[in-house]
């Protein structure tokens, strides 16, 4: 267990080592927030102020999740391309475990430098009128959403074993997330059919479901969201391990 903590600490240190990059990331996030603020103000003109605040706070929460969530597919792609995966495979622990715990540390660094500002903006948009129960719901579902997203990224990363660059596949993932995850566009505004489809797919449970729960924090919705999240985590956990095991078996490490 202690080795996981050490990996997490290393991820945290890596994040803090690139603190200037993260600070520029924060500025980008703030600019993006300003654009969204004025855009949605124009879209929702004439509607109640509460609706605008709900929408924009939802989008800030989604931006926070996008910031903190891991980009494991790129890490794995980099390791396969350079051949450094060989050294990870020669550790007495699985590659996915190493990626996960180091990623958690890096996510903590990102939260400390960027996420916390975004979270304060989120609270400010809601006049700091957020109950402790809502915050608890957000924390639990966001943590599970993180794990679910990690598994999705890991599956995506296994394509690195078959193609030189996963850039194209990753762009496709971004497009799917754009439509089905609700991290750019609130799910409430979806057409009914798309909303129904999205509610059965895993993408919404990595992003949108956390935001929807923050807007309507009931025990029933909380139970529904975490049940689906856990089911998808379980499914993707086994799927990603199966794919990774198969990919490693067929791979040829670069350079001999």
């Amino acid at each position: 267990m202690k080795y996981r903590l050490t990996l997490t600490k290393m991820g945290l240190k890596k994040g803090l080592a690139s603190k200037y990059a993260l600070i520029f990331w924060l500025f980008s996030a703030l600019i993006s927030f300003a654009v969204q603020y004025f855009l949605w103000q124009a879209v929702l003109v004439g509607r109640p102020l509460a609706e605008f605040r709900q929408t924009i706070s939802y989008l800030v929460l989604m931006q926070l999740l996008t910031t903190v969530f891991p980009k494991v597919s790129y890490d794995l792609n980099d390791k396969v391309r350079t051949g450094d995966i060989a050294l990870d495979l020669l550790k007495p622990f699985s590659v996915e475990e190493q990626l996960f715990w180091e990623g958690v540390g890096y996510a903590v660094a990102k939260f400390a430098l960027i996420g916390i500002v975004e979270f304060i903006i989120y609270l400010w948009l809601l006049n700091f009128q957020v109950s402790l129960l809502t915050i608890l719901f957000i924390i639990v579902t966001a943590a599970l959403a993180y794990v679910l997203y990690f598994e999705l990224e890991l599956i995506l990363g296994t394509f690195s074993f078959y193609t030189y660059s996963i850039w194209g596949i990753s762009t496709f993932k971004e497009a799917v997330l754009l439509i089905l995850a609700g991290n750019i566009f609130p799910a409430n505004f979806y057409p009914v059919v798309l909303k129904a489809i999205a509610s059965y797919l895993p993408f919404e449970y990595s992003f949108g479901a956390v935001g929807l729960l923050a807007q309507a924090p009931t025990w029933q919705l909380f139970g529904q969201v975490i049940t689906i999240q856990l089911l998808y985590i379980l499914l993707f956990y086994y799927l990603s391990r199966l794919l990774l095991k198969h990919s490693i078996t067929v791979t040829v490490i670069q350079g001999g």
């Binding site: 890596k14 051949g83 450094d84 060989a86 495979l89």
Partner: protein, 316 residues
Amino acid sequence: MIIKTENLTKHYQKVTSSGLLHKKTKTVQAVQNVSLQVEQGQRVGLVGLNGSGKSTLIKLILGILQPSSGNVATFGVEPITHRQQNARKIGVVFGQRSQLRWDLPAMDTFKLNREIYQVAQSDFQARLAKLTRMLAAEDFLTQPVRTLSLGQRMKAEFIAALLHDPELLILDEPTIGLDTLSKNSIVQFLKSLTSKTIIFTSHDLDEVEQVCSRIMIMNQGHLVLDQNSSELVKFAVPSTITFTSKQVSYDELKSSWPNVRQLVNGDFEIAKIKPEQVKDILSKLTATVPIENITVKNNRLEYLLAHISGGKAHEI
């Protein structure tokens, strides 16, 4: 026995050209029917030219590549399914890869390895102090890896690979790209590791001979030679002397040195000199010709590859 392979073969498809709709591939025979055994405590040098299959063989032994056919056992077990179990007994240094985190000090990786391999704190401190002293690495282990020279980084890689006191040390071209001083310091360090089973791959035969008592030579995927280094060193390999002299012409030299030839850059070369003649020729050359620069080379590996048959080196 630490390693045993029987008719181990690995081939894979390599893309030779690709367009929008077509892709041409060819089968590369990386390792072909290699059978070998390595006993505990042996120091084995695995030598070959680039692309000879040394690194692929190492990866098959480590269980990170799947053989196409044949058998391999590392520590008596099949290495792919037992990779994590074997990893506790193996230390690895790949010259072109790094287990150190680029933006963190090497010390952080050492601490991580202490946890991963569950090394007791007292053992960790003792080994770290010993390895740091042996490699003269005291000054740079707390600096971010990105600020280290290649020589310093390789020393840190060695410490990271040895902190868990592995039984088997696998070194895949660990001195590649290093300057002569750093190379010598690594070679001296390896010579001092007397209790370990070592597999040391390189394309520099002289360097491997300083460390290993047994030499294996690979060529085009085949294990073409497996011999004691004491036997191999007796094998007489001709040398080549290359020198620069701007004060004499080729025709003048040719009259007293009939074997000399001029290279495209204007230097001169005398090739195929028998070992017992090198000293005399050097003395005579330096006494009679005004020389600005001189080097003596013997491409032992290439020469041996041309004169190996039946797994032994033979002089023709």
